[in-house]
Symmetry: C2
Subunit: 358 residues, 2 copies
């Protein structure tokens, strides 16, 4: 089954290459390499041609590559990866043109350009577009990653006790994720009280007060795919302002989710949440209203005020409106949803929203 999925992915990419009259595609981002080969290691590139896929790796990863790669020719390199890839391209006489994404470093690009004797074309966004529509293997992985995160958070709740520091609570949550055989999808954010007004707060030594609030933004992984969840809690009786913000964000998120379906304009889905917050008189979040997740924690599509395009069936996105009042409070709720033709499916149902006060 995995092999069929991989063939489908490759077929889709090859179709795009044919349209552009390109024979081969060099993949230099490790998530792109994983997507077409199933290899999960690092420092490796892939070359996809009309009828083959090559992984260019080194001796540290050869064993892992043979274990993980499906229908892939493994090329063990010595020396620079750009030179080794250039040599491989030269060896494949049938290639008349080869392309890559401009996410490559200038240094690697220059080496490669010198090394290959055929035109080196630039194609942006080909893999990010392909990767944005999830296949069933990917959907299953993200569902598992979401469920793992939910269980880990549940196991962490007994530690929501006055005196614990943000960093320690983050560490405990990360440990619970590990105990479930997973690992963090990204650096866990734990913010107590007013610290939550900074969306990118770094967990500090700040301790939880007897009456306080907690914001946690975190994710677990499964097979390289990450979930991304934000939940807010209150310890002791929250202020009226906090309750109000929480209630508004809950409604804002629901409004956004209600509009999410294949064909919906990204701006419209983003605007639905903003409108609810704006109407309440509270300040609207300065960040985007959500983003795709997958092998990367931030993928297309991005919900933004100036976003272009529409949602597509098979995309998995977060919806994460927030209210931030510097020095006072921060509330954000974030769920992961699968876009379908008729609407969407919430993948983070097992991670319940808090009933305030907890």
């Amino acid at each position: 089954m995995r092999e069929e999925i991989l063939q489908t992915r490759r077929r889709n990419i090859r179709r795009q290459l044919r349209k552009r009259n390109i024979d081969g595609l060099i993949l230099t981002k490790s998530v792109d390499v994983t997507y077409v080969t199933a290899f999960a290691g690092h420092d490796s590139w892939a070359l996809l041609t009309k009828n083959a896929v090559y992984l260019i790796t080194d001796s540290r990863y050869t064993e892992q590559a043979h274990n993980e790669c499906l229908q892939t020719t493994i090329v063990e390199r010595r020396g620079f990866i750009s030179e080794a890839t250039g040599r491989l391209v030269r060896r494949l006489k049938s290639l008349r043109s080869v392309a890559l994404s401009r996410s490559i470093s200038l240094a690697a690009y220059e080496t490669l350009k010198k090394s290959v004797a055929i035109p080196l074309k630039k194609v942006d966004g080909l893999l990010t577009t392909a990767r944005s529509i999830k296949d069933k293997v990917e959907i299953a992985a993200i569902k598992t990653a979401a469920n793992t995160a939910a269980v880990a958070l549940e196991n962490t709740k007994p530690f929501f006790k006055p005196g614990i520091a943000e960093i320690e609570l983050a560490g405990i949550l990360d440990l619970e994720i590990r105990r479930l055989g997973s690992k963090n999808g990204f650096e866990t954010i734990v913010a107590f009280g007013p610290n939550a007004s900074r969306p990118h707060h770094q967990p500090s030594r700040r301790k939880l007060h007897r009456t306080d609030t907690i914001l946690i933004d975190f994710g677990a992984t499964c097979k390289g795919y990450t979930s991304d969840i934000t939940r807010c809690f209150a310890v002791g009786k929250p202020t009226a302002a906090y309750r109000h913000a929480y209630e508004v964000v809950t409604r804002a998120q629901a409004a956004s989710i209600a509009t999410a379906r294949a064909g919906a304009e990204l701006v419209a889905v983003d605007a639905a949440a903003r409108e609810v917050i704006r109407d309440s008189g509270l300040p609207v979040h300065g960040h985007g209203g959500g983003h795709g997740i997958g092998l990367e924690i931030h993928e297309i599509p991005f919900l933004k005020e100036d976003a272009q395009g529409t949602l597509q069936a098979g995309q998995i996105i977060t919806i994460e409106p927030g209210v931030y009042i510097p020095g006072k409070l921060g509330v954000r709720l974030e769920d992961d949803i699968l876009i379908t033709d008729k609407g969407c499916q919430i993948l983070t149902r097992r991670c319940p929203h808090a009933e305030l006060p907890i």
Copy 2:
């Protein structure tokens, strides 16, 4: 004191720019940006000119930038960072040439090149070279990072109990690092028994047996600087083969450390450890014998069989020989040492090597 250090760093870089007849330097790697501005956030670039330093950041980081940056003009961008930096360069009429490292992405380079009206030169290695010689603020940070790692490992030892999984032990160690107010410098490696024969082993669900061995490769951070330590332990009575490998690696590491001083050839320091292992009849590690540490976990200088150049006073490097026998065992010992004119100083003394069996 911090400001003086920052001025010294900038002076050194400007001296290199003058030699190359370059007026300004665009820094696009976040560690380089941190090095010249003290800003610890992400998604930001810096521009260093003859008499000023600019940080190009966005609204998410403006507050943090004002708190952290020293003697830096903060430019809040909208839109792409490459375009915003191009605009800034155009605005600074006195600039006649500007340079950058080829670690920049091709996409950002092309945008920048279109945007600036003056020559855009390429200089490789300027910042990595400057950053390889540590100043006293950096040495103090790495010492603290090493001590934190030592305490965290000590606190983790009570969990070296049969039945614990590699991933769980890794999680506990990471939590202990957090409890000390720090965080991981990189992904902790925990490998039990034969799993340790893979230098890049990913912690798995493999459980610790009653008679078993443990390899842990980890680091804590302080102010962005990371330590990097590997220790091996035995639970129950280790095999004669394991004891032998451990003893050989101990001698190999000591041999390498004994040669480490300013002016020593990198190949000689690397070779000293390899020779001890080769003479013992055991297989020699396939990876390098050590590497610089700092704001990045792997920096110049690299100890390798084909390394060129010599050690310099003020560099901080790891020395990490190993013996790996697939399916059987893996032993690696890694310490962090500060290179001085007369020899070196071991910064990881507080993390004792195990007396086998523990």
